[in-house]
Amino acid sequence: MSLGFTIVKRLAHMVFVMFGISVLVFLIFFATPGADPAARIAGRNASPQTVALIRKEFGLDKPLPVQYLRMMDRLVIRRDLTSYVNLGEKVVPTIFRAAPVTLSLVFGAAVIWIVFSILVGVLAAAFKDRTLDRLLMILSLIGISIPVFWLGEVVNLVSQGLLHNTWLFSWVPPLGYVPLHRDPALWFKSLVLPWFTLALAFIGIYGRVLRANIVEAMQEDYIRLARAKGLPEAQVLIRHALRCSMIAIFTLFGLDFGALVGGGALLTEVVFGLPGVGYLTYQALTNLDLPMIMATVTYASFFVVSANAMVDILYSVFDPRVRND
């Protein structure tokens, strides 16, 4: 199959999945049995006039397909969906204003988790079945098993409470976000701990996957050849085994990065008070602001779906073997 055809096919699949997700979002918010969707969208203590207005605006007396089209029109095409809790707030621009916070958080964490997981994976593989390997693997397992929001609370307890007045954590600014263009140093300081908190579980997962892949790669013929050439063991490990094992890591990375930007970083944002898209969703959740949630869910999942498609396309560009699927 040619590369062009693979890409077109993947993009068609992407559009199809986006359509499926938007239908699912619509069904969850407008067609779940229980309360009246108009009352749900209006939020707590809404006047009957507001409910009636919403019913007319979303065409809730019309058949479901029409309602679906109305929702998509207001969400994606006209982007004029407004909140009924914070009256008059246009939800889509609000989301785009919050996106840089989430991107700052996820980018920084990604750099940290890639660097540290390579370190963990390579060291564990180099010391396979010895003490260092066992130690790193059990630490990775613990890292995977810690709920990120609880880790964030522990980090806050230590850095804002118990040890805040010692040299260790006196540099930590109060919880919150400072835009990069306003004060780069403060931006960095306010994000260091959230970065590490978010990265920990991924260091564990990627370290374990990388170790397994390197150990497997070390059995391959090209490694035997590299050794036979007389290359030093460190060079065999890093130039050859690691390089090949990174392919799996990059696929995984694309998926996780997309998932984190598309809502996965929510818990970290909430615990550290970072006003990103996840925090916006959480606020909407506590205020029962349904239009905001509809918008964050739709846009975030569209982002995840396009990120997944990007990964697949890049993968088929770099690795011709997968094109034959």
Binding site: G20, G34, W150, V304
Partner: protein
């Protein structure tokens, strides 16, 4: 056994060889040998055995929560106790003390004695230790029940798609693709905000908004693609394998092939997934409860206790720290068990938390 020959061939091995000779059906006993060997391998794994013991201890202590509340804590951990007192060091101390700066009240801290308020009180003056045990019941129950739901759906969908192929495979694959691409927490949030705020009513079936079945169902559904996709792939490979081809040639019915050839092979995958998914589900339950959309009061889970302790983080950190530690220990134990089962059942499988 202790002799050198005995070390080479154990009694059990010998018995198994005998079984294999005398058994009427060779495949069945060969399969039994596989399970025996796997079980023996897990039992030799010391970390896995420690994990099993830890899980068992957690489970029994959580089951005994009412006993603890009655006999040790002497208090109902679901009733707020804002004007009560507790005996500490021979003195009656109020459960809620005025804070040193004069603003608000601080609940009593841990007494570290096996009795009332061993781990202190929460913001409502309730016994944290007793709540921890009750919360553990809910967390473990939700984790286990959602795992059962997730694996059942995954097996049904995975086998249907992988075995029958064609249009069934297409439809199921598309459904799984859509669910897979949907960000997990956003899906859970969307479902929760709709279901937990108004409950659900389908015909005569009424589910109230504080019913535990809602978080169980939500958590059970969101991870179905994570298990169904690998099972579908495995069934597709099995479907093309020589031994299934042989069964088809012998004229075996679909049902018989499913039961005798496919299911036993899928079973090992399921067993490996069980502890891993339960670990994931317990973390998800805690996360959703922390956001206020998981387990609803009056029920408590480890996640809701962490949420209750959030505003006490800097004064009474134990309220949030203790349930978190309970989650970490449980999830580490489940993951260790998952690793051990994977090593024992399928050394080539590359199953991770992903």
């Amino acid at each position: 056994m202790a002799s050198e020959i005995g070390a080479a061939i154990s009694d059990q091995d010998y018995a198994r060889v005998l079984d294999a000779w005398t058994a009427p059906e060779l495949p069945a006993s060969a399969a039994q040998g596989y399970w025996h060997a796997a079980l023996a391998k897990v039992r030799r794994n010391r970390a896995a055995m420690v994990a099993v013991v830890a899980l068992f201890l957690f489970l029994t202590s959580c089951v005994m929560a009412p006993l603890y509340a009655h006999l040790v804590a002497h208090i109902n951990p679901f009733k707020s106790n804002l004007d009560g007192t507790v005996l500490i060091g021979g003195k009656q101390v109020p459960v809620m003390q005025s804070a040193s700066n004069g603003l608000g009240v601080t609940p009593v801290g841990p007494t570290w004695r096996f009795g009332p308020y061993m781990l202190g009180a929460d913001g409502q003056g309730r016994d944290v230790a007793a709540r921890l045990l009750y919360g553990g019941r809910v967390s473990l129950l939700v984790g286990a029940a959602s795992t059962v739901i997730c694996l059942s759906f995954a097996v049904l969908l995975g086998i249907a798609a992988g075995f029958y192929g064609g249009i069934i495979n297409r439809v199921i694959s598309v459904m799984l693709d859509i669910l897979w691409a949907f960000p997990i927490y956003l899906l859970a949030i969307s479902l929760s905000i709709i279901l937990i705020n108004s409950g659900i009513r389908i015909g005569p079936l009424v589910v109230h908004s504080d019913d535990l079945i809602l978080p169980i169902a939500i958590i059970g559904i969101i991870y179905v693609p994570y298990v169904a996709r690998p099972i579908r792939a495995q069934v597709m490979t099995l479907r093309r394998s020589d031994f299934v081809m042989a069964s088809i040639c012998l004229g075996a019915s679909d049902l018989r092939i499913l039961r005798r050839e496919i299911l036993p092979n899928v079973a090992s995958t399921l067993i490996v997934f069980t502890p891993i998914m339960m670990a994931l589900n317990i973390i998800t339950e805690a996360s959703l409860s922390f956001l206020g959309i998981g387990v609803q009061p009056p029920s408590a889970s480890w996640g809701t206790i962490i949420r209750d302790g959030e505003h006490l983080l800097y004064t009474r950190p134990l309220v949030s720290i203790a349930p978190g530690l309970a989650i970490v220990i449980t999830v580490v134990a489940l993951n260790i068990l998952g690793d051990a089962l994977r090593d024992a059942l399928d050394p080539r499988a590359k199953l991770t938390l992903h």
